[in-house]
């Protein structure tokens, strides 16, 4: 049996920059192109980029495949290729059976027409026959829940009614292959529940589905296979519990880089004295085996080690450590203010070490901020905050929040 979707070595390029779409611009460009061609046409190639690069995948009948990836990874391009709106530059693709797309469900609406007319119009645009629409008309209107306003021009509809009607039409096409792109978040909670129910019904009916979403939980729940895209290429493909953690770590890595950039460029609000009385150097984060690294497992033993050097004697310094999440949440902090047993003053070179014990933070990106303050913690001598570390996701992420807690559950019967 042939696969409903076969996508073989597909390449698709797009052009960057302004296009020439008036004759006035095109005619000089024609000459430019001709002269440029004599000396190798580099400019044109420069302006192009691959939106989809050698992508391969097949989808079996009845399979639900999720496509994930950061913005600009080529997800929507792939859906457009699948639906036939654009054609590949290289490679071949084949879609067998009736195809329908839950993408831009209101694209076919015309504001001047009534809901009823738009149901017919949009239905035929999506490839239904008029007879077919007439048969399903009541069902569609019932589903959208706007039967009261069906003979009102849709320009008077609220945006929620608008997209609900659009979704209802698209959901009743009865396709063999369904492409879904982030449209399940239409309408209010009640309607979303209805959409979810409709989706499950479609799943049960054995429709082949390609689902594009940033909603990882949705992908995890619905899909039997996930394709991870990045910059137009397939980075990973397989079962959700394999691909999704990989993707999340990838996202964290990116967040980490962004955070590093941000910390570098931003000045801390408290002004640090220009002539550094103290300097902190060699901040190292240590893991279980006392090795310096920047990525840790959840629950790993965690130690921060650093060295300092003073220009003069400092009385009663306070050392402080803060762990800050990528989004700025202060997760925990500690300082030596109340710990008098650490000595009254420092001078010259020295070091300090903080052990945090088991690191029970949820997977994500964090920054360790080390600082030395004066006695009353009013004025900092020095702040070091360029130590970013990452707590890796292992297995499917099953915890959200700040802390990772192993909780003991007990459920009893009534």
């Amino acid at each position: 049996m042939q696969n409903p979707i076969e996508f073989t070595n597909v390449w698709k390029k797009f052009r960057k920059g302004e296009k020439f779409n008036s004759l006035r611009d095109a005619i000089p460009n024609l000459f430019r192109k001709r002269t440029a061609k004599n000396v190798k046409d580099i400019t044109l190639e420069d302006m192009e980029f691959w939106a989809v690069k050698d992508v391969n995948f097949n989808v079996k009948k009845g399979e639900v495949v999720g496509v994930i990836g950061p913005n600009g990874a080529g997800k929507s391009t792939i859906l457009k290729l699948l639906s036939g709106i654009i054609v590949p530059n290289k490679g071949s693709m084949k879609v067998t059976g009736r195809l329908s797309a839950l993408i831009e469900v209101t694209a076919g609406f015309h504001p001047e027409l009534t809901g009823r007319e738009n149901v017919y119009l949009n239905g035929t645009i999506l490839g239904m026959k008029r007879k077919e629409i007439s048969e399903k008309f009541d069902e569609i209107v019932e589903f959208s829940g706007i039967s009261e306003f069906i003979d009102t021009p849709v320009k008077r509809y609220s945006s929620g009614m608008y997209s609900r009607l659009g979704f209802s039409v698209a959901a009743h096409v009865n396709p063999d292959v369904l492409l879904v792109d982030e449209v399940l978040a239409v309408g209010d909670i009640a309607f979303q529940a209805k959409c979810a129910e409709k989706m499950r019904e479609l799943l049960r009916s054995g429709v082949t589905i390609v689902l594009v979403s940033h909603n990882i939980a949705l992908i995890e729940n619905l899909c039997s296979r996930v394709i991870l895209l990045g910059r137009g290429e397939v980075l990973k493909e397989g079962a959700p519990e394999k691909v999704i953690p990989y993707y999340e770590n990838l996202v964290f890595q990116q967040q980490e880089n962004e955070l590093k950039q941000k910390l570098k460029s931003s000045d801390y609000k408290v002004k640090v004295t220009d002539d550094l009385a103290v300097d902190i150097s060699n901040v190292i984060l240590l893991g279980e085996n006392n090795e310096g690294k920047d990525s840790f497992c959840a629950g790993e033993n965690f130690t921060v080690k650093a060295e300092y050097k003073t220009q003069k004697k400092i009385e009663n310094p306070v050392f402080a450590l803060e762990i800050i999440r990528a989004d700025g949440v202060l997760c925990c902090s500690s300082n030596t203010k109340e710990k008098s047993d650490l000595g009254d003053s420092i001078e010259g070179k020295g070091g300090f070490k903080v052990n945090l014990g088991k690191l029970d933070l949820c997977p994500g990106i964090y920054a360790a901020k080390v600082s030395i303050w004066d006695r009353d913690m009013i004025h900092p001598y020095v702040i070091r905050k360029d130590n970013i570390f990452r707590i890796e996701v292992s297995g499917v992420k099953n915890a959200d929040g700040v802390f990772l807690k192993d909780m003991d559950w007990q459920v009893t019967g009534a």
Binding site: S22, L23, A107, E112, L113, E117, Y120
Partner: protein, 258 residues
């Protein structure tokens, strides 16, 4: 391509319906729109005819006025169709970039909507011609064939121009200028025979030969010039096929170039 269009004939119908519906909705004149432009054009034609009559010292006859009215309707259909179809892809860019369907239905629907206007105006004209007792002849049977040629020719040009306008937006302005002055180069207000030996030059324009054929069949009640009718038919079919092919070839590029 034709087969795919047939598969989407319901869509073609709905889009035509949409175009008609929108044109007459919230319009104070309603269906009068369909005859408004022909009336203005006929008035202009009569004025010009009168001026020519004064210059040449002749009278204008009833038949001349009737002839203008009969020719104005297909002409208005032709220019309205092109005006609407040239915009049809760009004006529906939402549909072009978001949903897959044979895009040829968009220009074709705007042409069919104009054909609907032609039918409305045609009915009015038939009523008027009956009142003035123009009378009928066997040659009226040519009219459907001639209209078919006109439709094919218009569809061919419309397909070409709508695709052209998608790539180059100024196609539309060029079309507007050509259509504005086209009436002077086409035997609408006058008859090609006025130009004697030069008349063939005017009939080389397929719309010209189509209009003259209609005039023969309806007003003059005689057999249309078969050579020129054949020529018009040949042009129409050729242009239609060329337009369809061009459109089909360029269709995959629409979504990224619009």
């Amino acid at each position: 391509m034709i087969r795919e269009l047939l598969k989407y004939k319901d869509l073609l119908f709905m889009l035509t319906f949409r175009d008609i519906r929108i044109r007459y909705k919230q319009a104070a004149m309603g269906f009068l729109w369909a005859i408004f432009m022909p009336i203005v054009a006929v008035a202009a034609g009569i004025l010009i005819k009168k001026a020519m009559a004064v210059v040449s010292g002749q009278y204008i006859d009833m038949l001349g006025v009737v002839s203008i009215s009969v020719k104005v309707l297909p002409w208005t259909f032709f220019i309205n169709s092109l005006k609407f179809s040239v915009q049809s892809l760009v004006g529906n860019s939402n549909l072009v970039t978001k949903i897959y369907f044979p895009k040829a239905v968009l220009p074709l629907a705007s042409i069919f909507a104009c054909f609907f206007d032609l039918c409305i105006a045609g009915i009015v004209l038939v009523v008027l011609l009956t009142i003035i007792k123009l009378g009928v002849s066997i040659h009226l049977l040519w009219v459907p064939l001639i209209l078919l040629f006109l439709l094919l020719f218009t569809a061919g040009v419309g397909l070409l121009l709508s695709a052209g306008n998608l790539f180059f937006r100024d196609v539309r302005y060029v079309v507007e200028v050509v259509l504005m002055f086209g009436i002077f180069f086409t035997p609408v207000f006058y008859s090609a025979s006025h130009f004697g030996n030069w008349s063939h030059l005017l009939l080389l324009n397929p719309v010209g030969s189509i209009l003259e054929s209609i005039n023969s069949a309806v007003v003059l009640k005689q057999m249309p010039d078969l050579f020129w009718l054949g020529y018009a038919g040949f042009c129409s079919v050729t242009v239609f096929i060329a337009g369809l092919n061009f459109f089909h070839k360029k269709e995959p590029l629409f979504a990224e170039n619009i």
